[in-house]
Symmetry: C2
Subunit: 138 residues, 2 copies
DNA sequence: TTGATTTTGCAACAATATTGCAAATCATGT
DNA sequence: ACATGATTTGCAATATTGTTGCAAAATCAA
């Protein structure tokens, strides 16, 4: 079982109410979260600034990773245990459902290689697939 | 040669100063543009609102497409002639250079197929590669 | 428990995005 | 080329989103 306190300690981060609450929300959520989702879904009310700073701290420590979107929001999702601080292993495909609007990490599906034109040197890659998720397809 | 007036007429859009100017900027730019880039690079000063509305109109008419990013900006780039209104054919790879920070449409590189878990139905897909672009690699 | 360090919340601010409406511009038919 | 109707623009106001400095509070380590 994933435990928010464990995760924080493992990353030598202070264990605070806000960090526990936000991390628990990530653990309980199967999809990805935007800043707005967090503010809405947390019972205890934390300052906007705290949420921003907590997300940034989690990101810098490799606890969560970012997901590219075409609207102007940043989505975050929990990293699997392979992530290290500053060195994300999030090269899995992200799926956005057109119906329920959830963003799901397909951890088993890695982003494939592509052949780039001459001179382009790839360092990181991301892939987002939109469609109907397994839940909604019924 | 791409002509802004042609493009507008082909999409049954009124030919106005702002639309011509913004479309010309897209045509003259090899990379993708954010809203802020447009406001900075247009000599004639249009209202922010006009730029927003123009971008939305272009997007809805399939003249430009959006590029997913992990910062909270929306990038737009010209669609190639295959795009139709409401039905974008922008399934090519986008490259973001870590050095010059330009976003480039690799129109020749199509986003590869991936095998999704059971039940997931893909409809659109996008891929972003970060690294060093051909220009900067010298 | 105490003291040093980190984190939080507040306030102020900056940047970005949206809406309604009147004035200006554009397209169409004559 | 001109008048008319429809569309687009700019302004103002407002909403939303993100950032910074600093004092108070919470956390950690001894």
């Amino acid at each position: 079982m994933l435990d928010s306190i464990d995760i924080l300690k493992r990353n030598t981060l202070s264990v605070t109410e806000s960090r526990k609450a936000i991390l628990d929300l990530f653990i309980d959520t199967d999809g990805a979260l935007a800043h707005a989702d967090i503010e809405k879904n947390i019972s205890n009310d934390f300052d906007r600034v705290t949420v921003y700073r907590t997300l940034q701290t989690f990101f810098e420590n490799g606890i969560i990773h970012q997901i590219p979107t075409t609207d102007n929001t940043v989505l975050y999702a929990l990293c699997k245990d392979k992530c290290e601080a500053g060195h994300h292993h999030d090269e899995h495909v992200h799926f956005i459902c057109n119906l329920c609007d959830k963003t799901i990490c397909l951890d088993e599906v890695t982003v494939p290689q592509v052949k780039l034109p001459k001179g382009f040197k790839p360092l990181q890659k991301a892939m987002v697939v939109k469609g109907i998720c397994a839940e909604c397809k019924n």
